[in-house]
């Protein structure tokens, strides 16, 4: 992939108080790429997503989205902290699916999806509803469109949350452990939607997950995080079958042993298109 990266981290420093989460962090994602971020909790992978979604600021370094500064602006030739207006503009390029879904409980499923397109993108109501219905069909939630989040299972809520993020037509969609709060039997339906998304859309996906089967099927690249660094990156096949780092091997073993529902990865036919 020799195109320009759609998102780029350069020497990023992120601290929570004295706790350094990312240090001199470099990372690139290319348009249409599906990247899975793996690693122990506290290793910084979720922080990477939250910085891209502008939910966490950075202390040093720069982040670009489509070659444009995310957390900074150029003013009179100087680089200054981004204004709210700039952040709002940049935010529209990115969508996020949260571990705990975070649907708006006071709104119907349909309105959860149409709210932002109508009020942020200023899409006419009728058009927004039509698009929301298409998205609901894609995630298999058409029958529940007038229900409220509290009436849905976790898996159903997460599928609505995916539709809600897609309704904003983001260039990059971020998934922060989308299945880890779900009952085991709900995980499959959400992963199926995400697989469909990976096939059908020319969409850049960044997924924090420990679902190795999913990573195997979908990821162009798996990045293994430890202590705020990417210690190893490669195709799922490289990472899962011939990891170079001992730390990677340890982590994968612990994931496989913990979750019997995860099917151990097997070498699959080349999926390159």
């Amino acid at each position: 992939m020799k195109q320009k990266p759609i998102a780029r981290f350069e020497k990023v420093l992120k601290k929570f108080g004295d706790n350094v989460v990312l240090n001199e962090f470099d990372f690139e994602v290319y348009p249409g790429e599906k990247v899975v971020l793996m690693g122990p909790s506290g290793s910084g992978k979720t922080t990477v997503l939250r910085i891209l979604m502008t939910l966490e600021d950075i202390q040093d370094g720069v982040v670009y989205i489509e070659e444009e500064l995310l957390w900074h602006e150029q003013k009179h030739g100087k680089r200054v902290a981004a204004s709210n207006a700039h952040l709002r503009k940049m935010r529209k390029k990115v969508g996020m699916v949260f571990q705990l879904f975070n649907l708006f409980p006071n709104m119907s499923v349909l309105r959860n999806i149409t709210e932002a397109p109508i009020h942020v993108l200023k899409i006419p109501r009728k058009e927004a509803i039509k698009r929301a219905e298409d998205l609901l069909e894609m995630v298999g939630m058409t029958a529940q469109k007038n229900m409220h989040p509290a009436q849905l299972s976790g898996g159903q809520q997460q599928r609505v949350a995916i539709a809600r993020a897609l309704a904003m037509r983001p260039k990059i969609i971020l998934f922060d452990e989308p299945t880890s709060a779900l009952d085991p039997e709900m995980v499959g339906s959400v992963l199926d939607v995400m697989r469909k998304l990976a096939d059908e859309h020319d969409l850049t996906m960044l997924v924090v997950t420990h679902e190795m089967g999913f990573a195997q099927d979908v990821a162009d690249r798996v990045c293994m995080f430890d202590h705020g660094r990417i210690i190893e990156a490669g195709t799922p096949q490289e990472i899962f079958t011939t990891p170079k780092e001992e730390r990677t091997r340890q982590f994968l073993n612990s994931v496989i042993n913990r979750e019997d529902t995860v099917t151990a990865p097997t070498v699959q036919p080349d999926r390159d298109k």
């Binding site: 979604m53 502008t54 939910l55 709002r88 935010r91 529209k92 990115v94 969508g95 996020m96 949260f98 705990l100 975070n102 649907l103 708006f104 409980p105 006071n106 709104m107 709210e115 932002a116 009020h119 942020v120 409220h148 989040p149 509290a150 009436q151 949350a161 809600r164 993020a165 904003m168």
Partner: protein
Amino acid sequence: MLFNIPWNLSSNWTFAWSILPILLIGLEVTIKATIFGFLLALILGLPLALLRAVPFRIISWPTAVLIEFIRDTPLLVQVYFVYYVLPDYGLIFSAFLTGTIALGIQYSAYTAEVYRAGLEAIPQGQWEAAKALSLQTRRIYRDIVIPQAIPRIVPAMGNYLISIIKDTPILSAVTVLEVLNVAKIIGDRTFRYLIPLSMVGGLFLILTVISSVLVRYIERRLPKEGIPLK
């Protein structure tokens, strides 16, 4: 005789019957003081809660102190203050207005805490999801935060409504002819306290029961877990 209405002392029953219209005039004042005081508390409480939540200490801290001060001083002191001290500074209010302002101020400190708790109960994830959708702050409050906060706020506000009803007799200290003051005057003039005071107790009971039924009715019509009732 009070308010040009005479009483009939020939028997307990005729006495009670004859002073009822007099007490009802006082009750009307009580109800008005309650409504205005409560509305004032609801209105004043919101800016207090918002100022308190401002991330700048120079604003939030004095607000917190003010709220604490109002809450921790007796209502009667505040009533006297508005009635006897403010006129020295050119602020002269009628006795009725004095009472309702004091009630409103006292209870705004309580409603501010209710608003604050209601807003803080909105999970962080709701804010993050709204931000991730690029919704503007005004829109987040209007469509997400306030609709979710209201069902949490209403029950507590209902309790304060009933509490205000029961605090209105304090206004008699600054000559307001609310229902207790009226009953006391009747007692002073007839030397019969039992009947008017018992009737006042009964009237307050009726008032608070009606209010709590009303509050519960509103509560039941609020959405549960975000699901609106048909």
